[in-house]
Every structure is written in structure tokens, then in C-alpha cells.
Symmetry: C2
Amino acid sequence: MSKLLAVGTVAFDAIETPFGKTDKILGGSGTFVGLAASQFGVETGVVSVVGGDFPQSYLDMMNNKGINTDGVEIIKEGKTFFWSGKYHNDMNSRDTLVTELNVLEHFQPVVPEAFKDSGIVMLGNLHPLTQASVLDQMNERPKLVVLDTMNFWMDIALADLHTVLKRVDVITINDEEARQLSGEYSLVNAAKKIHEMGPKYVVIKKGEHGALLFNEGKMFYAPALPLAEVFDPTGAGDTFAGGFCGYLAKTEDISFENMKNAIIYGSNLASFCVEKFGTQRMEELTKDEVLTRLQSFKDLTQFDIELS
Amino acid sequence: MSKLLAVGTVAFDAIETPFGKTDKILGGSGTFVGLAASQFGVETGVVSVVGGDFPQSYLDMMNNKGINTDGVEIIKEGKTFFWSGKYHNDMNSRDTLVTELNVLEHFQPVVPEAFKDSGIVMLGNLHPLTQASVLDQMNERPKLVVLDTMNFWMDIALADLHTVLKRVDVITINDEEARQLSGEYSLVNAAKKIHEMGPKYVVIKKGEHGALLFNEGKMFYAPALPLAEVFDPTGAGDTFAGGFCGYLAKTEDISFENMKNAIIYGSNLASFCVEKFGTQRMEELTKDEVLTRLQSFKDLTQFDIELS
């Protein structure tokens, strides 16, 4: 079992979907990654920053799930990062209503001593220089560095992104972002170009259309589980990444074959995340539910054709 | 081995993609279904209509592939159905430039005597009354009736579509059309509603995002093979349907488990279809190539997680 270090946001979200709306609730990429990884009993440390307005009860909940929050800096006089968004009827597109960076604006992640030897590091969607500063603090190069990013950083910090990508093993990115980063429309060609930028593994997230894993000519595909109702997609991508990293940390096997399983676990957990608002479903999720749904993923994808 | 009866268009296409453009070349849903099914050595009869301008060499090619064209009526004084379209850069959307129905406008399919006992009938995308008239000509109810349709018929002949759907086992439809037909956004719910209209099996085609098979609570998903280059998507959906029907006709097993394989074969053949303009790739395709690609589909989708 490797330790997992997850750097990302711990935040307030206010969400509106066709099914309802919430007040400020718990959100943030670090939160969702941590909750997903907690399903594997992995020792996970979250590095983030919150303001004095952040309820202790949220930190308590994370701690009760086995998530170490020593790396979550609390700036008493500051306010927690706040995002508010409204999803359209198709649940694939959304409008951002409010983004208040608050304490996130000058976030300088500090890795707790106990997590400087983490085998797996998940660099959440932050400025590439901030992501690099985390790697600088590790005792030695982690066994696996996973990086999430988005078009925003390609627009304003592309050179820095290219620099940090050279230190990364796995990049998780959505399809449009992969196209933007590579300049290639075909995802096969996009992955090839992104390989050349550093990451040996490229995970392309396609939302309701699943996720693709590329590794130097090899490909694997995990569908999203078709659901009768997607209640709130917020955090699904981070939950996917957290499931991916958590499974690899638990199994300590970073072969391509095992990454297939990690991708399936990521999709599995993400399919729960969207069933309720915010972190609610992930907080109450049991191991039995996860295993039952793993069977659903097998039924959905496995076939038996004789090659003749 | 069952006989397969495929009713659809045999036509001229002129296609423009970012990779080039063609003059009038061979196209049509019946053509693509027939070519796909020919991979399985199935006795396939195509029922369609062409004009006096249709080259005998195209019919010869189909006959050489083992496709029976006795049901392709030739109206000497008429002109063959012609479609021309231009694909956008994303290859998922296209503009129709020309649609000349010509002889298709008054098409009255006549099923040849030798195919009135076909076990499997594929009703291509035509007016629902035309589709129904084919079923009326069969000696007895076929073992499996597969129907393809599109939003156009939902707009202008919805009542007729509902009537013929009651006589259908499998409907193939794309995601937007499934939503339109059912009034449900979620594909899971859409499939449920469409089940209630008649078809026990609902195949939802999502183009580059693969295809879903629903059967009364059960689901199976086949991805499209990610390709470095999609040269021309024309006919991919019909090739998919032809592979599906052809495999079922060959194996004579219409269980859900075997339909999984049929869906994979459909995706397999469709992945070849898009590699060249029109029918070109399907005409030259060998069994060895199909089997090699079947292995690619296995590598892409199969995983081995212990449930523990």
C-alpha cells in the first residue's frame, strides 16, 4: 500500500441542476479525490487551503474517512474558495455563475512531512507552477505522478504547463482539452503528441461517454455506466481520478494491465458521485455497493467471442 | 445459418470530407448492410430500387460478394437515388448538399420468393409503411425483425412508425433520435419507453462514442474503436447494422449474450468502413483483418478484476 498525496481545492459549491439547487455545500477537487481514495483504505493526505469560514465538521468528516487534512491550511481571516454553477438539461454543459478564488488566489501548498514519501501524487487542477512546487517538496521522485489540468492553464500558462508535464507520468484531461493541448482532432493522435510532452499515460475523460487510457500504442476504454438519472455531475471527474489513484496506491502495481482496473474503479466511483448533490453519495457509499456495481461494469462490457 | 433479408437504399453518394471529395460513387443502406453481412458468408438478399443509370458493375460486385440482388428493381427510365454531403472537421456533423429521391420516391419493395422465408429481416431507414409492407410479404413472422429509422419519420409519420414498431424485435436508432422518440433525455429511460412501444431490444448508436444494447433491464456497451483517422463516416451506421444482423444470421442465436457479440462485430466492421471513401474498404476487407481487429476490441475493453 502506497501513501497517496492529493493536492487540490477544498471548497464551497452552490449547484443548480434540473433536479434542484443547493446552498453552499462541501466541494473541491481535493475533497472528491480524498473521498474516492478512502474507499480503498489508502493513507491519503490532502493538501489545500480554506478560510476561517470553513466548518470544522467538514474536516472531521474527512478525518473520519481516514483522510489526513494536516496539509489543509486554514487562513482564519480569509474566505474559502467558492464556485457556483448551473447545469443545463443535458447535464453535460454548465454555466459558471460565481467564482470567488478567495484564499486560493495565493495558495502555496505545503506538503506535510509525513506525506513527503508518498508513492503516488495526484496534482489537482491548479496553476502548473503550483503543481511543480509540490513535486519539489517530495523526498524523492514519487513512483507515480498524476496531473489534472484544464484549458484555462493552456490559455494563460502553457509554457509552465509544458515544463511540469515533463515530470508527470499520467495526465488526466478531457477530450476538448486534449485536442487543444495537442492540436490534433483525433484522440489517438492527440494522445501520441501528449506522450511526447512527457506523460507516458494519457487518460482522456469524455464525461458520459467514458474514458480512454493511452500508453504508447496501447489503448483501453472504460464506459461511463448509463444511468437513469444523473442528479449532479459536480466532482465526477475528480472522483474518477481519486478512484484511479486510490486503486493504484492500494495495489502498488502501476502496470498498464492494472491501470485498466484503476480506470474501471474510477468510472465505478464516478457513477455513484453523480447520484446525489455534492459529496453526499460518496460520504455514505459502502464497499458492498462498489462491488455490486463492479459486476454491472463487467456485465456492461465483457463479452466472449471465439476468435475463429 | 439463417437467410438475411435487407431492405434499404442502393444509391449514388457524392461525399466531401476534410480529406478529399468523390464523384458519384456506390452507396446506400442496403449496399452497406449487404457488404457487412457478406463477411459472415450469410445468404443475403437486398431489396431496393435503382434507375437505368445504375452500373451493372456495382450489381456484379455485390453478386460476387454473395449478395443476392434479385430484389433490386431496375427502373430503366428512372434515375438512382442520389445523396451528396459534406462532413465538418469533427466528422460527427455534416451538411446535406443534395438529396434526389428519384426512383426511391415511389419505391414499393417486392420480396423475392426465395427470401420470403428469411429468418432475419433488416428494415432499413425508409417510410414506416414501406417497412411494414415488407413484413406483410413474408411467409411467416421472421425469427428476428430489426428496424432502423430516423427523426425524419418521427416528424412526418409517427403514427405509422408506432404501428410498425409493434412488429419489430430490435430497433437501431441514434441517441438524439432515441430521445426524440421517447421524450426522455436519459438513454436508460429512453430505452425503457421504446421497449414499451414494441422492440424488446433497443440499440442506440452514438457514432464515435460507440453503441448501447438494451434488453429489458440488461445493458451492453460496445465502444467505437478509436482511430487515428476517420476518413469517411458514410455508411458506418448501416455497416454496424449489417454486421449485427449478419453475425446473428450466421450463428442463429438471438439470445442477449450472443447479441453482445453481434454488437461487437457491428462495431468492428464499422471501424473499417470509415477508413476509406464509400464502400471501398468494405469491398476489399478480408476475414483475417476482421479477426485481428476483434483482438483490438478485446484489448480495448476486457479487464480482469477480482471481486473481493
